[in-house]
């Protein structure tokens, strides 16, 4: 098997046994990136030189017989909304096209401490608003499985680089499905941790009460290894949870006998794509075969979730994005007459359409005339959805659904229809509203394009999710498939 197709765990062994050097590893990736990027277009910024310098240090360490940590020397990519000191961080917006942060996000510091090597920053929907990575101000990223299709979004670049073997793992952020959807569309493993599990310090906010950073990886084990490195309380993020450290790899056992799994009936609608329905059923059969007790369950308030999600997320975004005004950093429009016109012009020229649409919607939902009927109402729905989940989890250990009701779609297919676009989030947003962890794992193919299944866990029960995902992975072969693109390179 080619080096770039290997998992974190396999590469760690090769590095430790000196069968490959970190420098070779980075160079192999950089070569692949150079050859494939004109087609995939996932990287916004490449940091090859720094990566090689870092790799050399890892090699010196290995040469001196020192032990290396599980992620040490492993090449990875970061979504471009994670603040990296000295490395341009754009959020895929013209607003931040030339913005170079002066500080690192907590996850960036943690990964650096763990020895992971950053190859670059990857594309996304502008300010993480979208489901296809088409709203990036710079370029569209293509799905490595079929270049005419989207990689999903908003962490489209993060999923594409793992699928295209242009990084061993990546970090994304998930506000309504932005890790899980692209993971599903690109046949990789994507985890949205419990709200508060991973520090958000340094993540350029979309919607503070929903955002969460998580890993995208080739295998479930890799995912647990990366979560080990980035999880934990951070004094710089008041919403991060003071839970003690946990070794998530301990939950990787190939056994789900007796585990109670609820299939969310409300997501199995008549309109659901037939292939996705079929793959969901096959997954259920497989889990039953492996000894799990699977039955249907209900989240009765599901139909209100998307509405609530769009009101809460845009309301928070309208305030979070107010700081982009041209005064302190980022884009400033020329030829402003006064401070107000500088604000207006900078924002009019700096933001793309989808971002403006959401700021407008959020501003409207918070206005004194509308806050009661929209924002406050949405908060009530949020409480009801949490309650739905609480009740379901009285009976089940894990819930299951397809990650998205929609199959992978073509570039441009939904770009002009935001309503259709937002329907892709139908199965994912409820977790963000309830703060729950969810993982998308490869579960099959439709039209030679990947389909993912999502497992949903109780708060802070990532270990249970990993156990189910690992067992499913160990007993299926979907995750081993490689896109045609990478085979020829």
């Amino acid at each position: 098997m080619e080096i770039t197709a290997k998992s974190v765990a396999e590469l760690h062994q090769l590095l430790t046994e000196k069968k490959i050097s970190a420098t070779e590893l980075v160079n192999t990736y950089l070569n692949r990136i150079e050859k494939q990027e004109p087609q995939v277009k996932a990287y916004i910024t490449l940091t090859g030189e720094e990566a090689l310098a870092q790799a050399q240090k890892v090699d010196e360490k290995i040469a001196q017989g020192e032990e290396i940590a599980p992620l040490e020397g492993i090449p990875m990519a970061l979504k471009d909304n994670l603040s990296t000191s000295g490395v341009r961080t754009t959020s895929a917006s013209k607003m931040l096209e030339n913005y170079v942060p002066i500080y690192n996000a907590t996850v960036v510091d943690k990964l650096r401490q763990a020895g992971a090597i950053m190859l670059g920053k990857v594309n996304m929907d502008e300010f993480a608003m979208g489901a296809s990575t088409e709203s990036s101000a710079f370029f569209e990223t293509r799905n490595p499985w079929n270049l005419e299709y989207v990689p999903g979004g908003s962490s489209g670049g993060s999923a594409a680089v793992v699928a295209a073997e242009e990084a061993t793992f990546s970090l994304g952020s998930d506000t309504g499905g932005s890790i899980r959807l692209p993971a599903s569309y690109c046949n990789v493993v994507g985890l949205k941790p419990t709200y508060g599990r991973v520090s958000r310090y340094g993540l350029i906010s979309y919607a503070s009460s929903l955002d969460q950073i998580g890993p995208l990886t080739r295998t479930v084990r890799d995912n647990a290894l990366v979560l080990n490195a980035i999880a934990g309380h951070d004094p710089k993020d008041s919403t991060s949870h003071p839970s003690p450290g946990e070794d998530f790899t301990e939950s990787l056992v190939n056994d789900i006998k007796g585990l109670k799994i609820g299939v969310i009936r409300d997501y199995l609608t008549e309109e659901l794509d037939s292939d996705i329905k079929k793959i969901t059923q096959e997954t259920i059969s497989k889990l039953k075969e492996l000894g799990a007790e699977v039955e249907e369950c209900s989240l009765p308030h599901s139909e209100y979730a998307l509405g609530a999600y769009y009101l809460i997320s845009t309301a928070e975004a309208s305030s979070n994005l107010a700081r982009f005004d041209g005064v302190r950093f980022g884009f400033r429009a020329e030829e402003a007459e006064d401070v107000l016109s500088m604000f207006k012009k900078s924002r009019a020229q700096g933001f793309g359409d989808e971002v403006k649409r959401r700021i407008l919607l959020g501003t409207y939902a918070l206005s004194s005339e509308n806050i009661d009927s929209y924002f406050h109402q949405a908060q009530k729905v949020r409480t009801l959805i949490k309650e739905d989940y609480r009740q379901a989890f009285e009976k089940y250990d894990v819930l299951l659904s397809s990650t998205s009701p929609c199959p992978v779609f073509k570039l441009g297919e939904k770009a002009d229809d935001s309503l259709k676009m937002c329907m892709t989030d139908f199965h994912t947003v409820t977790l963000n509203l309830a703060g729950l962890p969810g993982i998308s794992v490869p579960a099959g193919f439709s039209n030679n394009l990947p389909v993912g299944i999502q497992f949903i866990g109780k708060p802070f029960a990532e270990s249970t999710l990993y156990r189910v995902a690992y067992t499913f992975e160990q007993n299926t072969e979907h995750h081993q498939a490689r896109p045609a693109l990478v085979k020829g390179v």
């Binding site: 909304n81 994670l82 603040s83 961080t89 959020s91 931040l96 913005y99 942060p101 002066i102 500080y103 996000a105 958000r200 310090y201 340094g202 993540l203 350029i204 906010s205 919607a207 503070s208 009460s209 004094p235 710089k236 993020d237 008041s238 919403t239 309301a315 928070e316 309208s318 305030s319 107010a322 700081r323 982009f324 005004d325 005064v327 302190r328 950093f329 980022g330 006064d338 401070v339 107000l340 604000f343 501003t363 918070l366 206005s367 004194s368 806050i371 924002f375």
Partner: protein, 484 residues
């Protein structure tokens, strides 16, 4: 005021107090006043993308303490909200404040005007962040080609204390503010440096015909920073509103600005033009749960409040006036109390503290805290006088010397040989010498001119440079003169 014979004023205050925490409200930057522009800043208080706030615990402690001092209910569950508006002095273009669930509610402050006590309701007190400062290239933001922002003050914690509309006279308004500032100074939550803007007043006022219940239309004057401005502003605004009402007109509900130089209020923006702040819960901060234990731990640190202190000083024998003067500043009252532990004639101590001690502080323009004379030193001085070691008159010289040199009274008395001569033999000798040297005065005295004795006493005091015990001199002189 003539207008207040026809109309009753209804007034409420919003007071913004800078809390003297070591660090800013949501980051670890210093709150120190001044400093080169944009040096007390970090990614967080500059609102850089991805940064998050972390609430300062000391700020919450101070807010609880203020709430207790103002007889408020402390909310067991309190949250922050965002107030959204665009202005370059706000790094995030929203101010983090408390709108839905403020930390303190339903309190009151007792004031006294012309000997009558009255409670002014405190509707709420909430925590919020201060903004930065704009520095314009020209005269104002509209006429300048360029403006700069200094974010050193951005994120300094403020407590906004909102009173009920219970104030009915200008004297009450000023008494409320004085009493409030004094209380805040006593509980040591703010430096209360009005001249540096660490306390700012927003004044709301309306008029209604005397005898009616319904509130009139109010106006709000923002950002006043002295008691005298509040007084002048209210006088002007009441007159302005009364004139409108007299002519049958309607006052417009609006925010007005107080022009200190011209002594007028000017319309700034009306209710219709008011910004929609789109308040919503700050999602980056967790709610703060304040349990009984926390409140009690703050209560334990609560000092004696001004009113309690006044009563205690009165019980020591001070007049109401003296007690008020001494408790006016906490530092002065502390000085008094400390000296009192060593010297227990409260009335005499008060006379000295309010008299020579205060006079010398003012003359040298130093604060009580920086006084070169310690409370112990003052007490020692008064004990020297009481014991007769020095006279009261010499005492006045000694305290001036104490201010000059910072030395203790005994040391000064010893060095300068100022101790009183109370030796009967020594004084008798002087008396006899003076009698011998001044036959004319002796004759005058014997001829019935009682006043002549004053001259003779003066001669003895002159000879001893004031050190002779005056009572003893008088006594011995009379005895000697009457003998002959």
């Amino acid at each position: 005021m003539e207008a207040l014979e026809r109309y009753e004023m209804v007034c409420g205050m919003e007071v913004h107090v800078e809390l003297k925490t070591k660090t800013k409200i949501f980051c670890n930057c210093t709150t120190e006043f001044g400093g080169e522009e944009n040096t007390h800043v970090c990614p967080s208080c500059l609102g850089m993308p991805g940064t998050l706030p972390v609430a300062n615990k000391q700020m919450v402690d101070f807010a609880i303490k203020t709430g207790l001092a103002l007889n408020c209910e402390i909310s067991p569950y309190t949250k922050f909200d965002r107030k959204n508006y665009f202005y370059p002095d706000l790094a995030t273009n929203f101010q983090t404040s408390q709108f839905y669930q403020p930390i303190c509610r339903n309190g009151y402050l007792e004031i006294e005007v012309d000997g009558e006590k009255k409670r002014i309701g405190i509707t709420e007190a909430h925590m919020e962040e201060d903004a930065g400062k704009l520095v314009h290239g020209g005269d104002s933001i509209t006429t300048s080609d360029e403006s700069y922002v200094d974010y050193n003050r951005a994120g300094v914690p403020l407590l906004e204390i909102v009173s009920a509309p219970d104030i009915r006279s200008i004297d009450e308004a000023v008494a409320y503010l004085e009493q409030l500032v004094q209380t805040l100074e006593y509980i040591e939550v703010s430096d209360c440096k009005l001249e540096q803007g660490s306390v700012r007043f927003d004044v709301n006022v309306s008029l209604r015909p005397i005898g009616t219940e319904e509130f009139g239309v109010r106006t709000e004057m923002k950002n006043l920073n002295s008691f005298s401005s509040v007084r002048r502003c209210l006088e002007y605004e009441i007159q302005r509103q009364a004139e409108i009402l007299d002519e049958g007109g309607e006052v417009i509900q609006e925010t007005r600005t107080w022009d200190e130089g011209r002594g007028v209020t000017l319309g700034l923006r009306s209710k219709e033009e008011a910004t929609d702040y789109r308040f919503f819960p700050e999602p980056d901060l967790m709610p703060i749960i304040i349990d009984r234990e926390w409140i009690e731990s703050i209560r334990k640190t609560m000092p004696e409040l001004p009113a309690e202190r006044r009563e205690r000083l009165k019980s020591l024998g001070l007049s109401d006036y003296d007690a008020r003067v001494i408790t006016n500043s906490k530092a002065m009252a502390d000085f008094f109390d400390q000296a009192f532990t060593k010297y227990n004639d409260a009335k005499n101590l008060a006379n000295w503290v309010m008299g020579d001690f205060s006079r010398l502080l003012n003359a040298k323009e130093i604060s009580v805290a920086d006084s070169p004379v310690s409370p112990e030193n003052l007490a020692e001085l008064l004990i020297l006088i009481e014991k007769g070691t020095i006279s009261g008159k010499i005492g006045k010289t000694v305290i001036e010397e104490m201010f000059e040199s910072g030395k203790g009274p005994e040391e000064i008395v010893k060095e300068k040989g100022l101790a009183q001569i109370s030796d009967t033999g020594e004084i008798l000798k002087l008396v006899q010498e003076v009698i011998e040297a001044n036959p004319q005065s002796v004759a005058d005295y014997k001829g019935g001119k009682g006043k002549a004795i004053g001259f003779l006493v003066g001669q003895i005091m002159k000879a001893t440079r004031g050190k002779a015990n005056p009572e003893l001199v008088n006594k011995l002189l009379r005895e000697e003169l009457d003998k002959e």
